[in-house]
């Protein structure tokens, strides 16, 4: 079980009659548990389109997406309840402003479970659990979501999806617009949720530092095509990174610079500044 993309394409057509393929011939397999995947690529590479196919918000114009046993194709199948697929795969959008609408945090988080016909008592429990998963305590339950800070809103919006208890959680650029410190705090949170619940988590991001430091698997899209699917180590140590016009992590770039300027022989593939500093000290001791 999980999500399987089989030769999936999505073609947009507009009134000017120019059509273009947002994603093209994607083959991809995502397990229903224990995945921690980064989805990277430039703006317009089709990342968001791909994500929307994962919970049947979009239908392929070609090929098929199997979502936990249900086959989603161009044609609507009356036997499939597409709404129920969204209970298996939760999608969190970039701006919490797009989803918060209730007068209290509790009611807002309960919106999802109630839509899926969970009874009200159970929905309350789910809301509480989801809120604690995103690192907010019960005192937030009765607060107005619109009076929260940006970061808190983001957490509440993530809790709103977690309360549905999806098997797979997809987040569209959750760290964009945050400062580096906020980005790390949020990434630690996702990493925690992943460890605690074993849910598969897929995160769309531009930040190569985060990709290198946190993820088990990276999927790269370029102009709608899947150009890489593997570990971050493999990605950053090959020339695939240049072919896709992607950046190297900052640790690697800094160490490469030192190698060049000081003629050192540092192993540049270090994931954190601490590891990088250790490597520099190790090599300098030898000299």
């Amino acid at each position: 079980m999980g999500i399987r993309f089989r030769n999936v394409s999505h073609e947009y057509s507009s009134y000017t009659k120019k059509t273009y393929k947002a994603i093209q011939d994607i083959n991809l397999s995502i397990e229903g548990t224990n995945e921690f995947i980064a989805l990277v690529g430039h703006t317009g590479s089709g990342k968001s389109t791909l994500a929307k196919h994962m919970n049947a918000l979009m239908f392929p114009t070609d090929g098929s997406v199997e979502i936990f046993g249900s086959e989603v194709t161009k044609k609507r199948n009356k036997k499939i309840k597409y709404n129920d697929l969204r209970r298996q795969v939760g999608l969190v959008f970039q701006f919490p402003e797009y989803q918060l609408f209730e007068e209290t945090v509790e009611k807002d988080i309960m919106f999802g479970p109630l839509n899926f016909k969970v009874d009200s008592e159970k929905a309350k429990t789910l809301a509480r659990e989801a809120l604690s998963l995103v690192g907010l305590d019960d005192s937030y339950l009765n607060r107005n979501p619109f009076n929260l800070s940006g970061g808190e809103k983001k957490r509440v919006s993530i809790a709103g999806i977690l309360a549905i208890d999806p098997k797979v959680l997809v987040l569209d650029e959750p760290t964009s617009g945050l400062d580096p410190y906020g980005r790390q705090v949020l990434m630690n949170l996702f990493s925690d949720i992943h460890k605690k619940t074993n849910k598969s988590i897929i995160i769309i991001t531009h930040d190569m530092d985060l990709v290198y430091r946190y993820f088990k698997r990276v999927i790269v899209l370029k102009d709608g095509e899947l150009t890489f699917d593997g570990t971050p180590d493999k990605l950053f140590q090959s020339d695939i990174i240049e072919q896709n016009h992607l950046d190297l992590p900052n640790t690697v770039k800094a160490l490469k610079q030192l190698n060049e300027k000081l003629n050192l022989n540092l192993d540049v593939y270090q994931k954190t500044p601490e590891a990088a500093a250790k490597e520099v000290r190790r090599v300098m001791k030898h000299e």
């Binding site: 703006t43 800094a254 610079q257 990088a276 500093a277 300098m284």
Partner: protein, 263 residues
């Protein structure tokens, strides 16, 4: 000569809390200042007082030796242009041409003059191909460039960027920041409000704000050496400098500093 002089400025949205608390500083012509701080530190409020969108309850702001008041705001705003965070919420025109013209229309610039300025500044910021395009056909980065062209066309010489890059992807953001760097080299005074140290590092001077007060304001290189300011304010140093701090070797520090300030 001081381009901007801020003396003991305080501002409060409500009675309970001062958003700006007795802020004083000055900026020289042609300088590039980065104002760093988290949300709620008062940095955006400061920017709004500098263009006269908000009037401080106490203190004075002088721009080019003229005091900013309700009466002088219209004239001083010709000198100070501001680009906001959300590219969509500052695009007034139906097309790129209309949007660049908007500020000039308000200044009653004659039409012939407007047309020639639009051509000139559209070319300057690199949007000359899109003059007839509508905002929905532009990327975020292109919209921000249009906003820059709009204020340049008003002949502003102080440019304020209020988190103008925070909604862009890293690649577009880099492009825009390098463009801002070029503008600064041409002589424009730049004030860049940001929460990203990686951006602030390109400025001549960095100001760090917290709870409406200035906690540090100095040359960029000096400020970056003071680790405690960054730690206390939860500001993350650029990775290369963090490595330099951990290694504690002068040579390494010098090379990494050069590397960071170049890119």
């Amino acid at each position: 000569m001081n381009m901007i002089d801020v003396q003991n400025v305080s501002f409060a949205y409500s009675e309970e809390k001062l958003t700006l608390n007795d802020v004083s500083f000055s900026i020289k012509k042609g300088e590039w200042i980065a104002i760093l701080g988290h949300n709620g530190s008062g940095k955006s409020t400061l920017a709004k007082t500098l263009v006269g969108l908000l009037e401080p309850q106490s203190g004075e702001i002088h721009i080019n030796s003229t005091r900013l008041t309700e009466e002088t705001a219209f004239d001083l705003r010709k000198k100070v242009g501001i680009v906001f965070q959300n590219p969509d919420n500052q695009f007034v025109g139906v097309t790129v041409r209309d949007d660049i013209a908007f500020g000039m229309e308000n200044l009653c610039v004659p039409r012939e003059e407007m047309l020639s300025r639009i051509d000139f500044y559209a070319k300057k910021v690199g949007v000359e191909e899109y003059l007839d395009k509508q905002p929905s056909n532009l990327s975020g980065g292109q919209k921000q460039r249009v906003a820059i062209a709009g204020i340049l066309a008003m002949r502003s010489d102080i440019l304020i960027f209020d988190e103008a890059t925070s909604m862009l992807d890293p690649y577009t953001r880099n492009d825009l920041i390098h463009y801002i760097k070029t503008l600064n080299k041409e002589g424009f005074t730049v004030i860049m409000i940001t929460h990203d140290v990686n951006e602030a590092i390109l400025a001549d001077k960095i100001m760090i704000m917290k709870h409406g007060e200035i906690v540090a304001f100095d040359q960029t290189e000096t400020i970056l050496k003071d680790k405690s300011v960054f730690l206390e304010n939860h500001l993350e140093l650029p990775v290369a400098l963090e490595i330099a701090n951990l290694v504690e070797d002068e040579e390494i520090r010098r090379i990494l500093w050069e590397y960071v300030s170049e890119t």
